[in-house]
């Protein structure tokens, strides 16, 4: 009833190619942005802004990165956390060695550095596919973690190997408060998400999807496999690199190489799978699900009070979390994004389904 496109005609090519062809979607998106940019900073307390929403956004960005590579191009990667680490350490080293550089520039450099490393470790994808490629990217994961732990130059010879992010200031404004950090992350993530959405709708994105669906057929219709796969690695790593820099600078403030271990890579892979492979929206939903669910379970179990021991609650969290992931994958293998799509289809027919 509410969600119906009757009477909305597309009279221009631009209208036909819009990201949100239906007016209701555009309104909903505008409201969502308004909530994210205005209502949340006004209403949410520091805890929610600093330690719930900011990591959700950072993980969303990393998940978009992995989704471009795995969901759109079909190249399975287990090196996501390593590319994040490259971004974090690149931004740190630039800031330490050239303090005049504004931090936004160092974020871009972080992305570019990660993209370079991503291309390097993407080279095996030209020869191998599927699980074999996953193993090859696993090499990136272990090598980069080892490199940052053992080569003192990257951590500026800090004895403990833990780097502390320098303060972020832009035109005299210092990003210290939870609100400013949340908004900074939100701006970067929204801009990059829109760019990603447009990229996957462009010729490049279509080439990626063609390679994913069948690389031989893609090559037959004139797509350069090497270029397509390597751009996917580069763009994906760029996103991960920026996410890594945000993680180090905006969220934690300190970073050690162990923060980007293989478990982090798996975590992001789960976000992409649960959110929905090949969907930008899914990256956000997956990140929100994986980050919020443990917090929700921990908070909800507080209701039981002393009836459950702290130990039981800690383990219960794993049980519920793991159980829900299995339920999800059984009921809807295509992820949360697909569920949202089903909701939209149902709403379109409501209240007269046939």
């Amino acid at each position: 009833m509410f969600y119906r496109e009757t009477g909305q005609y597309k009279t221009t090519y631009a209208a036909d190619r819009a990201i949100f062809p239906i007016r209701q979607d555009r309104v909903a998106f505008a409201v969502l942005l308004l909530v994210a940019f205005v209502a949340i900073p006004l209403l949410a307390n520091e805890y929610w802004l600093r330690s719930v929403l900011t990591p959700v956004l950072v993980f969303s960005l990393a998940a978009i990165g992995l989704n471009i590579l795995t969901g759109y191009t079909g190249q399975l990667s287990l090196g996501t956390a390593a590319f994040m680490a490259v971004g974090a350490f690149a931004a740190y080293n630039l800031e330490v060695r050239v303090p005049e550089v504004p931090f936004l520039v160092s974020f871009v450099v972080a992305g570019l550095a990660a993209a370079g490393v991503g291309i390097l470790f993407g080279l095996p994808s030209l020869r191998i596919k599927g699980f074999y490629l996953a193993v090859a990217t696993l090499a990136a994961q272990f090598f980069i973690e080892w490199l940052f732990t053992h080569v003192g130059w990257f951590t500026n010879y800090s004895t403990s190997g833990v780097i502390t992010a320098p303060p972020m200031t832009l035109l005299g404004f210092s990003f210290e408060s939870a609100e400013s950090r949340y908004l900074l992350t939100l701006c970067i993530v929204v801009v990059m998400a829109v760019m990603a959405k447009n990229m996957v709708r462009s010729e490049l994105g279509r080439a990626w999807m063609a390679v994913r669906d069948m690389d031989i057929a893609a090559e037959a219709i004139g797509i350069n496999l090497m270029k397509t796969k390597l751009t996917a690695f580069a763009v994906s790593s760029f996103y991960c690199g920026v996410a890594g820099a945000l993680w180090a600078y905006v969220y934690l403030g300190t970073v050690e190489p162990q923060a980007f271990d293989v478990l982090r890579s798996f975590e992001i892979l789960f976000m992409v799978i649960i959110g929905g492979l090949g969907s930008i929206l899914g990256s956000f939903l997956g990140a929100a699900f994986i980050v919020l669910l443990p917090i929700f379970i921990a908070n909800a179990s507080g209701v039981f009070g002393d009836a459950l021991s702290a130990e039981t609650i800690a383990h219960l969290e794993f049980v519920i979390f793991g159980g829900l992931i299995i339920v999800f994958l059984v009921v809807e293998p295509r992820g949360l994004a697909r569920l949202w799509q089903i909701v939209k289809e149902k709403l379109r027919l409501w209240p007269f389904p046939y």
Partner: protein, 443 residues
């Protein structure tokens, strides 16, 4: 089915924030109660140490509530938050708990070096102190640069100097250290690498040789490391492990023929959880602690009578007296005494973080105080000052007999002169990097 899932999901996300809010309110307006946030790890690779430690911590708080009705009559409340030994989850816990209680979180005990690093920069703004008992950032012992961080009792560097003294004792004097080869087998992390500078300095001073052997987290496979250790032919091995790494190290050492009595461990490699699984390989293994083990102390007996006999024990009764459990008790003991010191200044009411900070900084536990608390020989005296946030603890060495730890040394005094200079140097460097002006301490 799908429909159910959608409805359930929608309900979940709408209901998500509600319990969190409800809990916030339940803590308020409940009279004079001192809130202590507890961040624990009962899951993950280091849970083997985390569980008994937290049980000891919570049991001590329960005992103080049951025996004395709280600290100076102010009941203690607490809430546990699971960190799984991950910095990001600890930051989430820190932010979640820092405004709980009547006057906010009093003091955090992160129980983990990486976790400590993750919040150090946030403390001055939030005005919440951090007690890092026997771990954490060593140069934070300089209270002029780190007013909110307290690596109490003995920090890693002091611990390491005591360990070298212990080895010297076995060799018959500091002059006999010359020419010795010491292998430092360490966890490859911020924690593990923390002692490298002090070892280098001592090697230079006493003329021994050090070689570092990093073990990658979590340390389940160490065959290659120990083959290298054997090739190096060390006179002594320093084991700086954590969690499952320790038992593996002891087993591998026995396999390649490094005798257990030549291995000297740090206190995070010094618990029954490390030695029992290693079996015979661990017999004769020595390690350091900054507190005593066992239950032969009035304070530990009080926990047994007031908490475990009352059926309120957090963990199994057998765990009482083991290494990690006692360390948790000591951590809670120091926290409670610091709050008590603060109450002496500000009155017997719930204290804020800043007031607890004052309490920790002015805490002085003499032999008489410790005897009154029933902890003689369980912990050495502590005296924290504005500049010295370590508080001057001592180190005890214990040897595993196959069944329990026996005392292997007296309480050894660390080489604080050497360490203090390095701490001030390192803290000054940190202050310069961060643009911190160190505060001046009187006297």
């Amino acid at each position: 089915m799908r429909k159910c899932l959608i409805v359930a999901l929608a309900a979940l996300f709408l209901a998500g924030p509600v319990p969190a809010v409800a809990q916030d309110q339940s803590d308020e307006g409940a009279g004079a109660e001192q809130f202590i946030p507890i961040t624990s790890y009962r899951t993950g690779p280091y849970a083997v140490g985390g569980i008994p430690f937290q049980d000891g911590f919570v049991d001590y708080l329960k005992m103080v509530n049951a025996r004395d009705g709280g600290i100076e009559g102010v009941r203690i409340t607490w809430e546990e938050c699971e960190t799984a030994y991950k910095p990001d989850r600890f930051v989430e816990c820190y932010e979640r708990l820092k405004n709980r209680g009547e006057r906010g979180a009093s003091v955090f005990n992160p129980l983990g070096t990486p976790l400590t690093y993750a919040v150090i920069d946030r403390l001055p703004a939030d005005k919440i102190p951090l007690i890092t008992l026997g771990y954490g950032r060593t140069d934070a012992s300089d209270g002029t640069v780190f007013p909110y961080v307290f690596p109490l009792m003995v920090n890693y560097w002091s611990q390491n100097t005591a360990k070298i003294r212990y080895i010297a004792g076995l060799e018959g004097g500091l002059e006999n250290l010359e020419g010795l080869k010491i292998a430092n087998v360490h966890h490859d992390s911020a924690y593990g690498k923390e002692t490298a500078p002090v070892l280098a300095k001592q090697a230079e001073r006493y003329g021994f040789e050090v070689e570092h052997f990093p073990v990658v987290h979590p340390g389940i496979d160490q065959k290659a490391v120990w083959l290298n250790v054997r090739r190096y032919r060390p006179d002594y091995v320093i084991l700086r492990g954590w969690g499952v790494m320790n038992q593996t190290a002891l087993k591998e050492a026995a396999r390649v023929g490094v005798p257990a009595d030549k291995i000297v461990g740090v206190w995070w490699s010094c618990a029954e959880q490390d030695t029992v699984p290693a079996g015979d390989a661990a017999v004769g293994y020595t390690c350091s602690t900054f507190h005593n083990n066992g239950t032969d102390f009035p304070l530990m007996q009080d926990i047994l009578t007031h908490v475990h006999d009352a059926g309120d024990g957090t963990g199994p009764r057998d765990a009482v007296g083991t290494g990690f459990y006692n360390r948790g008790v000591i951590n809670a003991f120091v926290t409670v005494e610091a709050i008590r010191t603060g109450m002496g200044e500000f009155g017997a009411r719930a204290l804020s973080g800043e007031e607890v900070r004052w309490g920790i900084e002015n805490m002085e536990l003499t032999d008489a105080d410790i005897a009154a608390a029933g902890a003689t020989n369980l912990v050495p005296p502590i005296n924290v000052t504005c500049a010295d946030h370590e508080g001057g603890g001592k180190v005890l060495f214990v040897r595993w007999t196959g069944e329990s730890f026996e005392t292997a040394s007296e309480w050894l005094e660390p080489d604080r002169d050497l360490v203090r200079g390095m701490i001030e140097e390192s803290a000054a460097q940190y202050a310069a990097q961060k643009g911190i002006t160190p505060r001046t301490c009187e006297s």
